[in-house]
């Protein structure tokens, strides 16, 4: 790190996101306009350049006699990238930066998940890469849901989910690598306010699969959410409390699915029915009528 500190740093930014202070220093100011769009949603500049963590970006490019110099990116003292491809260097910086924030965010718990909003409730779709969650998010947005994220569900202590609307990483059919597309490009709308969770869907794409989910208990839901929770080992007590708040108020379904478009409409309809069922039960309770054992629930879509 001392060697890095001795290099000539011409420019940089320092900002706060989710309670974490991060700095990015560069050897030329020309690259900063490319870095700003990569920052986490809701970031705010710091008035003083005192940070918890520092990235260093050595900008390469063509030198004398057409010699190409590498772009080199450091995360702290660890080298992240050494490449002549500027896009790749920026992509790796972005990935690591979001990952760092997700692990160390204060007052929020980050779960690797897609999220959409529908009629005042959120649908949360936890899953790793290649599980097909971006396809399902995209289908839900196309069916009218508002876009919250295809990367992280950001939960507060009361179990509400906050928007984290970075561009969707839609996988290229040929290369298999994600191409970034904004929701505006896809004709969708972006959610702006935190929502209570209405439904949690654990699913993976299998060609030809039929959607026949089973419903999880709240405890089972917490365990399954924990599998995808970034700070699970770092802050287990806070994580358990937050995930319990989420699981205590929202049903969770688990099963394989076929094409995303086929499932998306069904999920939105089911969430709408669930909301009407809950409102009806509350009205009956307030009127003094029996609401039964409380064990009945609308059938899964």
């Amino acid at each position: 790190m001392e060697k890095l500190d001795r290099l000539g740093w011409a420019a940089g930014i320092s900002f706060r996101a989710y309670g974490v202070r991060v700095g990015i220093r560069t050897t030329t100011p020309d690259v900063l306009p490319l870095i700003y769009p990569l920052l986490p949603p809701g970031w705010k500049p710091l008035s003083r350049p005192v940070v918890d963590y520092l990235y260093s970006f050595i900008v390469g490019g063509k030198g004398p006699a057409s010699i190409r110099h590498f772009h080199i990116v450091y995360s702290g003292a660890v080298r992240l990238a050494r490449t002549t491809d500027l896009d790749q260097a920026l992509r790796l910086l972005e990935l690591d930066l979001h990952f760092y924030i997700a692990e160390r965010a204060r007052h929020r718990v980050f779960v690797h998940a897609g999220v959409v909003g529908w009629q005042g409730r959120a649908i949360v779709i936890p899953g790793r890469t290649w599980s097909g969650k971006t396809s399902l998010v995209r289908s839900l947005v196309a069916a009218g849901a508002s876009y919250y994220s295809d990367e992280f569900a950001v939960f507060d202590a009361s179990g509400r989910v906050h928007p984290y609307p970075i561009a969707l990483g839609i996988r290229d059919e040929h290369s298999g690598l994600p191409n970034k597309r904004t929701i505006a490009e896809l004709g969708g709308i972006v959610g702006t306010r935190p929502l209570p969770v209405g439904l949690i869907v654990f699913t993976q794409f299998h060609p030809g699969a039929r959607w026949r989910p089973r419903q999880l208990t709240p405890g089972g839901t917490v365990l399954e959410l924990l599998r995808h929770t970034i700070p699970a080992r770092r802050e287990p007590e806070r994580v358990l409390k937050t995930l319990s708040a989420v699981a205590s108020h929202a049903p969770a379904l688990m099963g394989h699915r076929g094409e995303a478009n086929d499932l998306a409409v069904g999920l939105l309809e089911w969430l709408g029915r669930l909301k009407r069922h809950s409102a009806h039960a509350k009205r009956r309770a307030s009127s003094g009528l029996s609401v039964g054992s409380g064990c009945s629930s609308p059938l899964a879509p």
């Binding site: 990952f99 890469t129 298999g176 599998r227 995808h228 080992r233």
Partner: protein, 172 residues
Amino acid sequence: MFPRKREEGLIVHELAEETLIYDLKRHRAYCLNRTAALIWRYCDGLTPLAQMKELLSRELGRDIEDWVLQRALQQLDRAHLLQRDGGEATNPVRRQALKRVGKFAVAGSLSALLPMVRAIVAPTAAQATTGVTRAQCQDFPPGQCPNLPCTDRPGRRCLPSGGRNQRCDCRG
């Protein structure tokens, strides 16, 4: 000797009908259903098994057989949620009883009362986030390895394997 629950190094969080436990030493999370949670609570080192069975029967509203209790204690012991003295579980779990437990076919409403202890290993930050299995890594086209963590090869990332064709593999 009566079974005693382990308390050191555990975070316990109660839900309405279930209990969540996080083992800080092993980084494992457990979900105990109501029956298992009640039995674990009774394991205070002072309560004999006969009394536990009576308490459980009263709480669940039906007679509970010995093997239900034994099964729960076996599960709790395997999950390291009971204290051990000198490497031996303090609960008097008898081998013959445990063998019989496995042979019972459970039907009807009793299945809902069976003790259940479900466990997962808490992921590291890298394992929880964008990552690929080794098989997925090897599917990437040569020269386009994504430099993502390999979720089934801790500490390794999906990188070019070297050589002329630059195929992707999980490397340290």
